[in-house]
């Protein structure tokens, strides 16, 4: 437990916590710190100075910093004594030699000019406030050696006149703008850090941010509910300052970079391009990825697909913006994503804690979070139009400097779109699969399912053993055919209803002692979870009930279903001499432990 305490704290901090929860967590961290070094969290000390009651921030900063791999100790200046604390070498701030000091001063340091139209007077007001902040920063830097974090001022929530305020040299709005410009310019070329509090406030909404009642009550500088967000922005900067910002964006493909599934829909069927709201949303995601790449973020791919199939849109789709040459490591296979992410990190010679995974599938996201908690996996809303914004809002790629080397980082990888071998044994997924709470529903073909059954039969290419196509009328005929056993399979898991995910057609041969599996197809989304085994168990159960002694499986290669060439072998069938037929004796079949609960099985029988 001791060794894992730091990791446990970090995982706990990675949830969305409000101020009360952050405060409770901070207390636990402070108690633990007395006896535990909280590794692998890196120790850091932050001084905190400001006007107003900054003490509410302290615990929020400590707890939030754990989310970013930091064991943060916060040293506060006494209330309203920021300037004195900065100048006095014996103050707590200076004496403890923090790594960084946050100057949390707000717009109240700005005096307003008597005449807002007087440019000269306005300039004096800006300069005075600026010099004051600068003096504090330089004092603390000289006395303690700390890096200074300066924050931009927030615009006021109202104008004096209205739009005209932007044209008045001395309006509050203009003074804030001028101060911020001066501040940013003064930081450039130094090792000091900028916190854009103004931008954070605007994200929250200025009307919400400025809680004037609370200021009058207790000098609380901004609305308490925004403290967790503010703390996260500070923590991102602190983490970046010790090299912990993320370096690589790993992209899923299907329904993340384009709409649809390339293996089933083909080049013409995936959705990408102008003129279609869904297609445009995916273009937006690709554009965002390329913009990040131009700023030195490495792009990688991790997709459950055949390698050649996955590369097809990059090579041939006219609307693809991302090219193979933009991708440093390209992993398209059927193994679990956590193992692939480890291989990507290894190939790039970075830690898994430098990775971000963008994936539309909640099941994949959960698998990675459980197996590799150090990987950042943003929770995505259902609408792809919001993916870019959600990813960027998380600020994984925040930085405190950008060198030429950084910008060229993404180009450093001379072997483009490298595919790396997976190392190590496959992960044991059993506890993860059980946690999915999968429930399966079996029923024979019926009128309600007919439409969807016909759709799957005609659409599935990859997980399709025989690629036999049937029209809707032919499917209807199968419903009533007494010599045929049919299955439509639905799957539900903890993330929702997956709908119909598998279709099976068995034909009774001769005297009924043998069933030929005419059709077996499945959605690739539910591969590798034990669903194949559950479906086989249901087929066998029905076969036995009908005195069928043998199942005959067929594999008819189509050029697109290589994925399932070993399907029957994996299920324990015996390969026949002709190479494409497989046999299973039904009476000796043992179903084995499958993490899927059967909610409804077929009643009565087909033959």
């Amino acid at each position: 437990m001791d060794d894992d305490f730091g990791a446990a704290v970090s995982k706990l901090a990675s949830h969305a916590l409000d101020l009360n929860q952050l405060t409770t967590l901070a207390k636990a961290i402070e108690r633990a710190r007395l006896e535990n070094d909280l590794s692998p969290l890196s120790p850091m000390r932050l001084g905190l100075l400001g006007n107003g009651t900054t003490s509410l921030f302290g615990p929020a900063l400590t707890a939030t910093a754990a989310r970013h791999g930091l064991n943060l100790e916060v040293v506060e200046a006494p209330y309203d004594q920021g300037f004195q604390a900065a100048l006095d070498p014996a103050s707590d701030i200076n004496r403890t030699r923090p790594d960084a000091v946050l100057l949390a001063f707000d717009h109240r340091i700005l005096a307003m000019p008597d005449n807002p139209q007087d440019e000269a007077e306005s300039t004096v007001c800006v300069n005075e406030a600026f010099e004051q902040i600068r003096a504090i920063g330089q004092a603390v830097s000289t006395q303690s050696g700390a890096t200074v974090i300066y924050q931009t001022l927030v615009h006021p929530p109202t104008h004096l006149l209205g739009s005209y305020d932007r044209r008045l040299p001395g309006s509050p709005h203009k003074l804030v703008d001028n101060f911020n410009d001066k501040l940013i310019e003064s930081i450039n070329g130094t090792g000091d850090i900028l916190l854009d509090a103004g931008a954070i406030a605007e994200m929250v909404g200025l009307d919400t941010w400025h809680d004037i009642t609370r200021w009058h009550l207790a000098k609380i500088p901004f609305v308490q509910t925004a403290i967790p967000l503010y703390a996260d922005h500070v923590a991102r900067l602190l983490a970046a300052s010790v090299g912990k910002s993320r370096k690589c964006l790993v992209l899923d493909l299907d329904n993340t970079l384009w709409g649809g599934v390339i293996g089933d829909d083909g080049l013409a069927g995936i959705i990408l391009g102008e003129g279609d709201p869904v297609g445009e949303a995916f273009l937006d995601i690709q554009r965002m990825a390329l913009r990040l790449r131009a700023l030195g973020i490495i792009l990688a791919v991790s997709s459950k697909n055949e390698d050649a199939t996955a590369r097809l849109p990059f090579r041939e789709h006219p609307d693809m913006l991302i090219r193979e040459s933009d991708i440093a490591v390209f992993q398209a296979n059927w193994s679990d994503k956590a193992t692939n992410l480890e291989s990507i990190a290894r190939a790039l010679d970075i830690g898994v804690d430098a990775l971000v995974l963008l994936d539309d599938n909640p099941v994949e996201r959960a698998q990675v979070r459980a197996a590799l908690p150090q990987v950042a996996v943003p929770e995505l809303p259902k609408d792809p139009a919001l993916y870019s914004r959600t990813l960027l809002a998380a600020g994984y790629f925040e930085t405190v400097s950008l060198s030429t080397e950084d910008l060229l980082r993404a180009d450093d990888y001379t072997s483009r779109a490298k595919r790396v071998e997976l190392q190590g044994a496959s992960r044991d997924l059993s506890s993860y699969l059980t946690s999915l709470n999968m429930e399966i529903f079996f029923a024979p073909f019926d009128e309600t399912g007919r439409n969807r059954i016909a759709q799957l039969i005609n659409k599935s290419n990859q997980f399709n053993l025989t690629t036999r196509r049937y029209t809707q009328n032919e499917v209807a005929a199968l419903e009533a055919d007494p010599s045929v056993f049919t299955l439509q399979v639905r799957l539900r898991d903890r993330f929702g209803d997956n709908g119909m995910i598998s279709v099976v057609i068995c034909r009774s041969l001769g005297d009924g002692e043998e069933w030929e599996i005419d059709t077996w197809l499945m959605s690739c989304r539910v591969l590798g979870r034990g669903v194949e085994q559950a479906v086989l168990a249901e087929i066998v159960r029905n076969a036995v009930a009908n005195d069928c002694r043998r199942l005959r499986g067929l594999f008819i290669p189509s050029g697109r279903n290589d994925l399932v060439k070993d399907h029957y072998a994996k299920l324990g069938f015996e390969r026949q001499v002709d190479g494409s037929t497989w046999l299973l004796e039904t009476h000796t079949f043992e179903p084995g432990d499958v993490p899927v609960k059967v909610i409804h099985a077929v009643e009565g029988n087909a033959t």
């Binding site: 101020l19 405060t23 009651t53 509410l56 009642t213 009550l217 308490q224």
Partner: protein, 81 residues
């Protein structure tokens, strides 16, 4: 909402804010009775109460409160309004 209901809804708020599930509220309870109740946690308490009861307190309203009983009376009068 009567006083009893307010006390009931207020109790989990105190537990959250002061990180102490053993707190039992009473009319005369004040900051002296709770270990963690300082000026800072008092602010967190006021904000939490505002959220839970969907109220807004003026500065003048909260600055004079001496004990939980008075707080409950304040909530009662603002909820009725």
């Amino acid at each position: 909402m009567n006083r009893e209901e307010i006390f009931e809804r207020l109790t989990p708020v105190f537990h959250e804010v002061f990180d102490d599930d053993d707190i039992v509220l009473s009319e005369t309870m004040s900051a002296e009775d709770v270990d963690e109740w300082d000026s800072l946690s008092h602010i967190r308490l006021v904000v939490a109460v505002e959220e839970v009861f969907s109220l807004r307190f003026d500065a003048s309203e909260v600055v004079e409160l001496e004990n939980v009983g008075q707080f409950v009376s304040l909530i009662e009068s603002k909820s009725a309004a």
